[in-house]
Symmetry: none
Subunit: 218 residues, 4 copies
DNA sequence: CATGAATGAGCTTTCATTCAT
DNA sequence: GATGAATGAAAGCTCATTCAT
């Protein structure tokens, strides 16, 4: 089992899945991610998973349930580090400079995101078409991240490291920059050669200082 | 016919569409955008368009053709201003400061994007699942925009207004920031109250100077 | 226009067909013969004929009418020599020996059959599925041929050249032998090398004397 | 279940068909034989078989597969007696005279043919339109029959019972005479009164001695 | 006369789901 | 719990036929 599969498996670990259930989940993730949820048939998933079609419906009553079973845990796991108290305390104290926080966060999440990429892709693809997913996403991810992050942002603003802007705007700008990088990197041009270290550093620099060449920076 | 429909109609204007063809296109755009391409049935499109199902296939041999007929013209129209010579000359000269160029471009494209939103949404949704669309997108949009934009970027870099970075990275950072805004604004949280002017200005400021509070800027 | 087409054209000549009608007929014959009546679409015929689909239905109200228009004249033309009085008189007198009659008839009809092969093929293929065709065939071909031929047969029987058997049996045996040859020759193994003269002669010999080696024949 | 159905069932016996599969096959045979393959719809077959339409496609992936599943076993079964060694030995020795061999063979095959008539009809109807069927027919039937029969023919030629002609020609003449009889009997004029014994005897006599009244035969 | 856009019934095939084994 | 045969609704698409131009 590859490193990536191991991580994905962790996503569902707590739920004590049987061997067959795991196979079904992996097969579904692969197919949903490659062809999209609506364009994937349950028979295809069954074949890829090596189980009977009926077995899928024994564990996940409907195809939609299967989708939700894949995407829902992602939502909680993706933001885990932001809500886990310990980690937060560390965060609050450890990084005096925003850059360092950004770097640590990107590094931390990039790794997870990269390996969970298929699941993330499914999530982003299907959110627009499934209101429950969208609400789950907003409630569990967007809001919680925002709560945590706005606290941090305010901290840095008070320290004078971040400009005065509503925290939600600050969060939006930072997050879309990071996701924009990942989208370009892994979805739009995956086959290009990428120097991940370098691009990450550039992205952080951009988030901090923008594209403009200010006299002071020279 | 609404303002939005008028603009969408321009997308397909040159091709002298009959009344029925237009109805089919609009119905398909609406459904594809709401439920996704794969989850939309041709019978549903026919009903919404008020035509017989056979009529769809008389004009677009396959369902896929219909998708391509919707997305392909968008690709050429979206970047038109970047390739139209006159516009470029204006651009090169008129805007001494990057900020002004950004503001003009965003304003110009935001309007188009907003009104073409359903079609843009379809394009972005389906690109990952249809290699031809992806290649068309890369060849017709990404490359052409980059050619035009890298020229501009180098100009501003020579004038000392933009930091030294590979033009493709500069372009990526700027474009994803803009699209990230539009995505958040129109797809993720369309029902929020937005002060478009203000957010645009903030986005521009972010692109230019980032989030960091540098001494020089005070 | 090929020799074959000329002959086929004669099939329909009396009916003063327009240019378009001819094109439709030829296209239909080609397609029906290659793919079968049911598996051929009118749009395919229209395309091959270079006319609009509506034009087909202006001349032949239904697809079935088109089939009948192709097959019906064949029925009258194929047996023409047997019913044309002049030809019959000639026949009655001219051939003292059955062999000579058979040879002349085969030669005469083989040429026609070969060139009308596509139409003949359509007729034989469709007869089992269209009762009207079958009745037309029985009434116009089978019965008329039989009337004529049974007269001849009785003549030869009286002359002691043909064994005593009911004329219909004699006719059946002779005709199926000839058609069996043509079927093997043109439909089952058309790509084999055939010495037509020789095989014709053998077929005639077979009809007359069978396969058995009788002392008297040596 | 009628006697005919029993025989048809034997055609497919080895393949351990389920009850539903049998029903589908019988329904398809009936419809294909009555209306032709292309003119028969799968929904019609499903209705006649008393199963859901989906069930047909679970067992036979395509409509064409269904056709092949009907026709292919026929090809092997029809010629079985010719390839079964025991039968051959019997044949070689038992019949001193060609007539007796012919009579035995016709009797043996006529029975089978008559009862498999619907399937045979389908085979003959569809061979011209499906190259794979045609090749199967040529490879599995024509060639194998010829191999066996040419051996027999040479034997009889050596004994001086059959005239000197290439075995393939001899085979063609004999076989088309027999099939011509069966075609006339069962397909062209099935509703006539037929004295099968008598017609068989006449056909054999024809194959052996032809229609000519030779002095020697009196 | 000729056209070809339009139709809607019907085609083959696939689908998510059920249930007896 | 697992299976996979069976289902029938619905999918994408084709068809013969009509009719306004």
């Amino acid at each position: 089992m590859s490193e990536e599969e191991l991580l994905i498996q962790q996503l569902f670990d707590e739920e004590k899945l049987t061997d067959k259930q795991k196979k079904i989940l992996f097969a579904a993730i692969e197919s949903f991610s490659e062809k999209g949820y609506a364009a994937t048939s349950t028979s295809e998933i069954a074949k890829k998973a090596g189980v009977a079609e009926g077995t899928i419906f024994r564990h996940y009553n409907t195809k939609k349930d299967l989708l939700v079973s894949i995407v829902a845990p992602l939502m909680t796991k993706l933001i885990a580090p932001f809500v886990v108290e310990d980690f937060n305390k560390v965060l609050d104290q450890q990084f005096d400079r925003v850059e360092d926080f950004l770097r640590a966060t990107i590094e931390n999440r990039r790794d997870v995101l990269k390996r969970l990429l298929p699941v993330v892709k499914i999530m982003l693809q299907e959110i627009p078409f499934h209101p429950e997913l969208r609400h789950q996403f907003i409630d569990q991810i967007a809001k919680k991240i925002f709560e945590r992050v706005s606290h941090l942002i305010k901290g840095y603003q008070e320290k004078g490291q971040i400009i005065e802007m509503p925290p939600e705007t600050v969060a939006r700008l930072a997050i879309t920059s990071i996701l924009g990088f990942l989208f370009t990197r892994y979805i739009l041009f995956p086959e290009n050669d990428w120097d991940d270290e370098l691009e990450t550093e550039r992205t952080i620099q951009f988030i901090m200082h923008g594209l403009g060449k200010t006299p002071s920076r020279e």
